[in-house]
């Protein structure tokens, strides 16, 4: 019986992109919807994620899985015959989870702050935190090709959607990834050579246009 997969998503969300990359890595076919996040949320989204009402949600044969890193782990466990995303060793796995959690709680939180155009102070604080956390990640990457070592994996996938935001960050806040974190930039380029990543990430210029539109419409 064929699997039925639906991804409830919104094109700018870096969290949705993680799921897309994971699905592409595994060569899985799916249908994606474009959800309305700021106006009325769809009945399907409210039914499938009643607790948080957020995207991404992966609906597998009618059953929903929520929270991007949780979805990626699920995908890795169900389609375990190809392209493992998490290491098999429990200790390595705990480290991968730790760093993905760091990306979520430190880095993406900082990114949100830098996008607060209305509050200059918060934006500056966010920028500082973003640089700090990227430098920590650079330290963790060291001289490895990927955070997962020789091959692309869980932490790489958790972080790489940030790449679509580099152009906006530079243009809006003066944060230049090349100057601040060159290792992260070269790691990003290495990831983008993978079809699963290149195909799954939105055009950085389109993200910038979207942000400008939002600023005009909602003032932030």
């Amino acid at each position: 019986m064929e699997d039925e997969l639906v991804l409830l998503d919104f094109w700018t969300s870096p969290f949705g992109r993680r799921v897309r990359i994971a699905l592409a890595e595994k060569g899985i076919k799916y249908e994606a919807t474009e959800e309305e996040l700021f106006e009325q949320k769809s009945p399907l989204l409210l039914q499938m994620n009643p607790v948080h009402k957020k995207i991404p949600v992966l609906i597998h044969n009618g059953k929903p899985v929520c929270e991007s890193l949780n979805i990626v782990q699920y995908i890795d466990e169900v389609w375990n015959h190809k392209s493992p995303l998490l290491p098999s060793d429990p200790y390595q796995r705990s480290q991968a989870r730790f760093w993905a959690d760091y990306v979520d709680n430190k880095l993406f939180m900082a990114l949100r702050k830098t996008m607060r155009w209305k509050d200059g102070e918060e934006q500056e604080a966010g920028k500082k935190e973003l640089i700090e956390s990227l430098k920590v990640l650079e330290g963790e990457l060291g001289d490895e090709l990927y955070f997962n070592g020789e091959s692309f994996g869980f932490v790489d996938l958790a972080l790489v959607p940030l790449a679509s935001w580099f152009y906006s960050l530079e243009t809006c806040t003066g944060f230049g990834i090349e100057g601040e974190c060159p290792k992260i930039l070269s790691w990003t380029k290495r990831c983008m050579e993978k079809e699963s990543v290149a195909k799954s990430l939105p055009d950085p210029r389109k993200i910038y246009d979207y942000l400008l539109e939002r600023k005009k419409k909602y003032g932030f």
Partner: protein
């Protein structure tokens, strides 16, 4: 070769307690090292340089940080006994979702109930009760969040139960009244030795909070 397991912890931390419960469920012997968070020791700073927080599990010299990550690690390493996560990937995803919900949602309003007053406290109390009701709804008629057996979500949440007395005292409400099914689940969990031995006495916690308030100058 015997495993060397060390836990860096704080007796009152509901996050540290999760690790104690998991280790007890698996029957793993370990050395407990109480940490002074106002004067962090070199071992803690070496083993958790990123967050400098407890709990940290040190297994044969290698550190694992973040309580839910530690519990999953324990479940995977000592997998021959008392499975904490389901074997089915979908059930596992649901367990992770609810443990994550507990992680994100319960602590902040809980803390505000004792650390704040007036409107802020009232708001926090309302939010806290709402969250407990969502969890009660998820529990449903099951004996445990994990179904027939005690598991990951139960561990993630039951460690807050020793703090209920603090929340009820400061917030002037009864969790039993608001969420009777949840309290029945708490009592069921407390019958397990892994839980009763790992959680501190609720009265001691209340005394501790009074002490904290004095030193932080909270009225």
């Amino acid at each position: 070769m015997a495993d060397e397991v060390v836990l860096l912890d704080l007796w009152s931390s509901m996050f540290g307690m999760r690790v104690r419960v998991a280790l007890a469920e698996k029957g793993v012997e370990y050395e407990y090292k109480e940490q002074d968070l106002r004067n962090k020791g070199p071992l803690l700073l070496e083993m958790n340089p990123i967050h400098k927080k407890i709990p940290v599990l040190i297994h044969n010299g290698k550190p694992i940080c973040e309580s839910l990550i530690i519990v999953q690690y324990i479940d995977e390493v000592w997998h021959h006994k008392a499975p904490l996560l389901p074997s089915d990937p979908y059930q596992r995803a649901q367990a992770r979702f609810w443990a994550d919900y507990v992680d994100k949602k319960v602590y902040p309003p809980g803390r505000k109930i004792w650390a704040t007053k007036g409107d802020e406290q009232e708001e926090a109390k309302k939010e806290f009760i709402e969250i407990l009701k969502v969890l009660e709804g998820e529990l449903g008629e099951k004996p445990y969040f994990g179904g027939e057996s005690f598991g990951f979500v139960d561990i993630s949440f039951v460690t807050f139960s020793c703090w209920f007395h603090v929340y009820e005292t400061f917030g002037n409400f009864s969790i039993e009244k608001e969420c009777p099914k949840l309290m029945a689940w708490v009592k069921r969990c407390q019958e397990r030795e892994s839980v009763s031995k790992s959680l501190p006495d609720e009265k001691k916690l209340l005394e501790f909070v009074y002490y904290l308030m004095k030193i932080f100058g909270i009225e």
